[in-house]
Amino acid sequence: MLIIRLAYRNLFRNARRTLLTILLISLSLTAMMLTDAFIRGSIVLMTETVTKTFGGEAQIHRAGFLETFDSDLVLTGAARLVEDVRQIDTIAAAAPRIVSGGMVSSPYNVTSAQIVGIEADAERQVSRVSTLIVEGSYLSGSEGEILIGRELANQLEVTLGDRIVITVAEVHSGELAQALYRLSGVFEFGVAEMDEAMVFINLTDARRLLQLHDGAHQVVIQFSHPDLATDLDHPLYALGDDTMEVVNWLDSNPEIASMLSMTSYSSAIIGMILFLLASLGVINSMFMSIFERIYELGVMKAVGTRPFGVMSLVAWEAVLIAAASATAGVGLGLVLGYGFSIYGIPIGEFEVAGISMDRIYTVLDSSQFVDFPIYVIILTFLASLYPAHFASRIVPALAIKKTL
């Protein structure tokens, strides 16, 4: 207790230095908390963008479809498959899609695009296409409707109600087929690839165009909880076999998966750098404190304090500084983290792996308030061991040589 009391009082001997050290450590902790909250926020944004905007949390295809996008790889009996999927507990929604490459032409221009046939109502449950219409209206299910992206509309020089012709190769015969549509809506995903080269038509129109009676190329699925998507024991994944693959969003977006994995590493690296800098600050501060009172430490040893006692004194000072820093850092991190979770952090126009971001909302997590402060206290303690060891080895005769 004496050592702790002494350590506590020593902190106030050079209050400015103690305060600066606390500031350094607490700001490092706050920075680490905010970095983690920011990364969590960007992961949530990326995940939600990928899963909620269009891709869904899982997809079912014929084996090999994802690699080739070959329109011959069709899921036959898609309607029944979708119904079976919807019967599984914890599946929130499922919708079939037809996907095929084709030519899109207007009276003024022609370009290639990906033609996506969707079931209007079911699609509302698995993607945000219906909410991204900036002109006209979403599909109603009536024959001849088409939605195109803003960029594609500009390219084709078409406005609502204008005629658009789609040319595709029929799935089984390979014969060219054409159909005429009237522009019913313009969407804007904010992702260049989608706004320039994607069109949506009704599933029935797509089936007719491609001569697919009850087939589909993919079934897009949303779970009742996002975490279920990565649970490979979920019954949905048992549907997969040699001819049909069930993949979650990480598998169907490998570039996003590797980016998320890299994000975790970068969080750890940033944390290590911050804590390393803070540790160096602690070591520096403790050494300054030791040299400032080396005479006194010499006297303490001279009157019988064991080396471990001196070491404990310095280590306790560091732990008390760390505890104060952790408290201050957590407080500041909570205020800033909460603020940014409400108002977001503007990052300008930013697109990563096809995902457009302009503002990231921090995500607070209990680990930031429990684990990180514990790391700070442990690392500060470890950083103090070097100066503490040095102090414990002070030779009294040298420390007080001005007198004795």
Binding site: L2, V303, T305, K402
Partner: protein
């Protein structure tokens, strides 16, 4: 007045402390053999660089000799190391330094209590001894003051109290009056002289101060690391 026990508390034999080597070799202490008996009130005197401080360091176990031996209270302290030496200093030696050297964040009473805490003396016993010793050194009622709130003389009295509260075999005092005015110095010396007379406590000073030399019963003259004169006084 208690009769002091006439038995050696310190024995050094052929004690040497050399610094550097070759052409830079300095013989700070050279073949010093010395006995100090229990209850002595002795002073090491000599010019600066004569080896007073080095000898006091070696007697106090604060430094290791190059050769020779130091025996204190019947034990070879030059052969001790680490915790053993720390514990020995704590239990057998009291130090008084030139610049008081109190722990500034502890009160006068806590500074005195410090060594007893290291010794594991029970709380009630500590408080009693602190109160007694503060009375004896004339600081009754000042125990709760921090060192900066005490005068130089008062701080040195606290240092004396700290040195003697654990009832060590010997008190080593390095220029204890050097930073005090004449009146405070005399007053402090009277306190120490009284402790020596009443309790038979052994004091060894390193000093240039005439007031100490006048009161010491033995003057050990050092020059160039050697004892050149050992003067017993009545």
């Amino acid at each position: 007045m208690n009769e002091p026990h006439r038995q050696p508390v310190i024995k050094t034999e052929h004690l040497c402390r050399h610094f550097g080597e070759g052409e830079t070799l300095v013989k700070a202490l050279d073949d010093v053999t010395l006995n100090i008996e229990r209850g002595e009130f002795s002073a090491l005197i000599g010019p600066s660089g004569s080896g007073k401080s080095t000898l006091l360091n070696l007697i106090g176990g604060l430094d290791n000799p190059t050769s020779g031996s130091v025996e204190l209270a019947g034990r070879r302290i030059d052969q001790m190391s680490g915790n053993e030496l720390s514990d020995f200093r704590r239990d057998h030696i009291g130090f008084i330094f030139q610049s008081y050297n109190l722990i500034p964040v502890l009160t006068a009473a806590e500074n005195i209590e410090y060594i007893m805490l290291l010794q594991g003396v029970p709380h009630a016993e500590r408080r009693r001894r602190v109160s007694d010793i503060l009375d004896r050194v004339g600081l009754a009622g000042l125990g709760e003051r921090l060192p900066p709130a005490l005068s130089g003389g008062q701080q040195q009295r606290v240092a004396v109290a700290r040195a003697m509260v654990s009832e060590p075999d010997i008190i080593l005092a390095d220029e204890p009056t050097a930073n005090l005015d004449s009146k405070s110095g005399i007053s402090l010396l009277e306190v120490m002289r009284e402790l020596n007379r009443d309790q038979g406590m052994t004091f060894v000073f390193s000093t240039h101060d005439q007031k100490i030399m006048e009161r010491a019963r033995r003057l050990i003259h050092l020059e160039d690391g050697r004892i050149v004169k050992d003067e017993q006084r009545v």
